[in-house]
């Protein structure tokens, strides 16, 4: 069965944004999320947040699902603007262990729900994100929507897997370039690594990483990937000077990835996200490999 990623995801978003307006209104929950992954999960549960942090950079790191226009930016997650936060009259604030420094101040505003996904003992991120999605759904009384969303995501991953099953899919290494000498490479237990496993693509970078799922390496370390078919997938945004500088560098030019068609740049996808971000990544990658194979 061929499922277009785009149509499926659009369907998912449409379902997410206006699933059941009456119920949402009845619930009337005003939620502020200080985490991108939790914010996009809210959309999929049919409870768009009233405000999120770092909204201004949503299009730079997350892109999909699109935030409704009504959502208000509450400032940087490290320096949440409490004047704005209070004026939003939130019933619930969603936060993560990453922002524990702000916890006492947030708790003085309203009820805070703290969800753990990226912690030293949470293990593989995708299962942890699914668990957190269920907890969030339960916390907000949206269990049905939560299960529906998870079923949709399951179906989506299966569809991606099927699209690639018949093809000779190369192993991939996933990076974000930090500068012309360094990259973050994504591996186990990271979100994208789990998504790769889910859609049946091998991660060319076999070494494990920190609990966020990335490791910072020098460009030259990419030579440790010996599979001649392996592809390097870089995510936008790539700093402007990286590719011109790499083109001049023997460190890069002598790598197998410098050969034509062994490097692809994908649009932004958030590796510190939850189920939606894993779906976006899986969709982007499946489209790319499908086209290339």
């Amino acid at each position: 069965m061929l499922v277009s990623r785009r149509s499926l995801l659009q369907h998912a978003i449409a379902a997410a944004v206006v699933p059941n307006p009456l119920y949402a209104q009845a619930a009337g929950l005003r939620i502020v999320s200080l985490d991108y992954g939790l914010a996009s999960t809210l959309l999929s549960l049919g409870l768009p947040p009233v405000g999120i942090s770092d909204l201004a950079d949503w299009g730079r790191w997350v892109v999909e699902p699109a935030m409704p226009r009504s959502v208000v930016d509450v400032g940087s997650s490290f320096e949440v603007n409490f004047e704005i936060l209070i004026a939003l009259k939130p019933d619930i604030i969603l936060t993560t262990p990453y922002l524990d420094e702000l916890l006492p101040k947030l708790q003085s505003v309203t009820k805070v729900v703290r969800l753990e996904i990226f912690t030293p003992d949470s293990g593989p991120i995708l299962p942890a994100a699914i668990k957190a999605t269920r907890r969030l759904a339960a916390e907000l009384g949206r269990q049905t929507e939560g299960e529906e969303f998870l079923a949709r995501s399951d179906a989506f991953f299966n569809a991606c897997r099927q699209r690639l099953a018949a093809k000779a899919v190369p192993p991939v290494a996933l990076v974000n370039f930090m500068d012309a000498r360094h990259a973050r490479i994504y591996s186990s237990p990271g979100l994208f690594h789990n998504a790769l496993e889910r859609i049946g693509v091998r991660n060319a970078w076999t070494k494990g990483s920190n609990y966020w799922g990335f490791e910072t390496i020098g460009i030259e370390d990419l030579s440790a990937i010996t599979d001649p078919d392996a592809r390097l997938i870089a995510f936008d945004p790539v700093p402007a000077d990286v590719f011109p500088k790499l083109a001049q560098s023997p460190l890069w030019n002598r790598l197998a990835f410098a050969r034509p068609a062994h490097l692809s740049v994908l649009p932004p996808a958030l590796m510190f996200g939850m189920v939606n971000e894993a779906m976006r990544f899986a969709g982007l990658l499946t489209d790319l490999l499908d086209k290339q194979a």
């Binding site: 400032g75 940087s76 000498r181 030259e220 030579s223 000077d241 560098s249 460190l251």
Partner: protein, 655 residues
């Protein structure tokens, strides 16, 4: 000839020593790549050696030589032992130009990075030199305007980056240059550009050394001074711009290398121009290879520029007592301002402005639709509970800094003295840094450490300048060296990714974000007590500037009074730095404006300065909170951005 040879021994020894040190350190970096079986495909250690480590060491040598040559040229042509690309703001100007262009016109950067950097540094040089020209190129005012410009460029680059990325990973004012390389492209291109400029320098050595004869002497020998100066300055600016374009800002090499050359025996222009680049190259080579060795993996992300400031500034401090400053500075008469208004009128105007700033700061804000709104309705009490502590803390710290500045200016007889310029704020920040990283105490403990830090700096200044009776240039240099060092240390700490560094960054940039009611009340209480003490000491502050004799005859215990007042200024600075950081410049602006308004006696000046300083800080906090709402710009950075150009305009007006 034999004299020349004898003079060369010292500098040659220094170069040799640094090269040996650097060579030993870099041997550990290079050795693993030379041995071991070579992998025919892609031998990581060997590839890294050939295309990263070795080009990096070459870049260090070339950049060090260029910066030192640039510094030596500046020092010779401006007859100013303190001039260098860092202290004249030339590197910072180039860096700001690069930041602005990369954010707003990125396609220009591809066309010519060098040209963009050159434009920025030329503009910076033009501003600083035109300000300096009005004061007869006095070394002191030249370097002061250069440093102020550096600070302004650094602050603006930080804010622009922040607005674009919405988080400030680290704040480097004096240097974030990284020597990391991935090919030979940069060192090779730097090599031929440097070679071209070096040839030009050889051509000007002779006419430059004739400048030693003094203006009339060299004119008699047929040297066209104006043209010579222009050529030399252009060469020095170009050198600094090329290095900044290639590797970013690397601080203080251009100041330290010629100083070391001079101290080790190079005296004449030719000798200085010859030895300085060699010492500079060896110095940066040494600094960078030690950095790479010590920092290991982390070293890749540690900007060498910050580390040279850590290396360079203590060296400068150690050398200060030995530095012979040839130029006497015309100390501007501090207490002869024409009275434009009566003191009561001035105070009244300053007070009204402050009340206005307070009302605006408290009442006006941005709402959730990004619009402006006056606080009202159901949440007004909650919002005021957030806003008022910040405004009060800003007010208290601005007033504290301004009064501390007044005291320091009166005591040192130096109208440019202030907690920021003298490095006292930097000392306080350093104290807080130690407190956070070593002991992690509460607010009171942090204040104690800040006081210890600022009083230590004051003691250093006090002891170091005792014999030179507070010669402005010496005090100023101590301050530069200390603030550079603090900035570098904090920068390095925040590069390490330690969460406590984020807290320290907030202090450095002067963010009022964490201030709540208890902190604000505490700050306000301290301000009231300390300012009251300062007011009580008004008689001392009126009489001490008249000199030791009148003071003694009026029965003032000279040493005791000075010590007590210095300590008071130190405690005030420490308390203020806790909220608004070391960069605000309010301690310089407040007393200045008060004097401009005709407040010359101690009590009215301090009162006026407190009102003005407090008002400025409240305004800066307001701008920082509302300009890019819901995001926030630290108040200390805002006030530095407003304060620095203001200061330069004031310096320009004065003739």
């Amino acid at each position: 000839m034999s004299r020349l040879r004898r003079d060369g021994i010292g500098p040659a020894l220094v170069v040799l020593l640094l090269l040996c040190g650097g060579g030993a350190a870099s041997w550990f970096l290079v050795a693993p790549g030379l041995w071991g079986a070579a992998d025919p495909n892609y031998d990581i250690t060997r590839m890294v050696l050939y295309y990263s480590t070795l080009p990096r060491l070459a870049t260090a040598l070339l950049a060090g030589a260029s910066l030192a040559l640039s510094g030596a040229l500046f020092q010779q042509v401006l007859r100013n032992p303190l001039a260098d690309p860092t202290t004249l703001g030339v590197s910072a100007g180039a860096n700001l130009a690069l930041v602005v262009v990369s954010l707003f016109l990125p396609e220009l950067l591809g066309a010519s990075r060098d040209l963009v950097a050159l434009t920025g540094s030329a503009i910076a040089a033009a501003i600083v030199l035109s300000l300096g020209a009005r004061r007869g190129f006095s070394p002191y005012s030249l370097v002061l305007s250069g440093l102020v410009l550096s600070l302004w460029c650094g602050g603006l680059s930080a804010i622009l980056t922040y607005l674009n990325q919405r988080y400030l990973a680290s704040l480097f004012i004096w240097g974030a240059g990284s020597l990391a390389q991935q090919s030979w492209v940069i060192p090779l291109s730097l090599l031929w550009k440097l070679a071209g400029l070096a040839i030009l320098c050889i051509l000007v050595i002779r006419p430059l050394s004739l400048l030693d004869l003094g203006e009339s002497g060299s004119t008699a020998l047929g040297i066209r001074l104006a043209r010579l100066r222009l050529v030399v300055i252009a060469a020095a600016v170009t050198l600094a711009a090329l290095v900044t374009s290639a590797v970013g800002v690397i601080g203080f090499i251009g100041l330290v290398a010629p100083t070391v050359a001079r101290l080790s025996g190079a005296r004449r222009s030719g000798q200085l121009l010859f030895w300085s680049p060699l010492i500079g190259a060896a110095l940066l080579f040494f600094a960078d290879s030690v950095l790479q060795l010590v920092a290991g993996e982390l070293g890749e992300f540690l900007p060498t520029g910050a580390v040279t400031a850590i290396f360079g500034s203590p060296l400068l401090l150690a050398l200060l007592p030995r530095l012979k400053i040839r130029h006497r500075i015309q100390q501007s008469p501090v207490w002869e301002r024409s009275r434009r208004w009566r003191p009561t009128t001035s105070i009244f105007i300053a007070g009204t402005a402050l009340v206005l700033a307070l009302i605006i700061g408290i009442v006006l804000g941005r709402n959730i639709d990004q619009g402006w709104s006056i606080v009202s309705g159901e949440f007004s009490s909650d919002i005021l509970a957030i806003r008022i502590p910040k405004v009060v803390a800003a007010l208290a710290s601005g007033a504290l800094l301004a009064v501390a500045g007044s005291i320091l200016q009166r005591l040192t007889g130096n109208e440019m003295a202030s907690p920021e310029v003298l490095g006292i704020s930097a000392g306080a920040t350093f104290g807080v840094a130690i407190a956070l990283f070593a002991v992690a105490p509460g607010l009171l403990g942090q204040l104690t450490f800040a006081v210890i830090g600022s009083v230590t700096v004051l003691a250093i200044i006090f002891l170091g300048s005792w014999r030179s009776s507070f010669a402005p240039e010496r005090v100023l240099l101590t301050g530069i060296a200390l603030s550079a060092m603090v900035d570098a240390v904090v920068g390095v700490l925040s590069s390490s990714g330690d969460p406590r560094a984020a807290l320290l960054m907030r202090w450095m940039s002067g963010s009022t974000y964490l201030i709540d009611a208890p902190i604000a009340a505490f700050e306000f209480g301290i301000a009231i007590v300390l300012i009251a003490i300062a007011f009580l000491a008004r008689r001392w502050l009126d009489i001490l500037p008249l000199g030791p004799l009148p003071s003694a005859s009026l029965g003032i215990p000279l040493a005791g009074a000075r010590l007590a007042l210095f300590a008071l200024a130190g405690v005030m600075t420490a308390a203020a730095t806790l909220t608004v950081g070391p960069l605000s410049f309010v301690g310089l602006m407040g007393p200045h404006l008060a004097r401009e308004a005709g407040l010359t006696r101690a009590l009215p000046q301090m009162a006026g300065a407190a009102l003005i300083g407090g008002g400025l800080m409240v305004a800066a906090d307001f701008v920082g909170r509302t300009l890019v709402s819901p995001y926030q710009i630290p108040a200390g950075l805002v006030s530095a951005l407003i304060g620095a150009p203001f200061l330069m305009v004031m310096m320009r007006r004065r003739t």
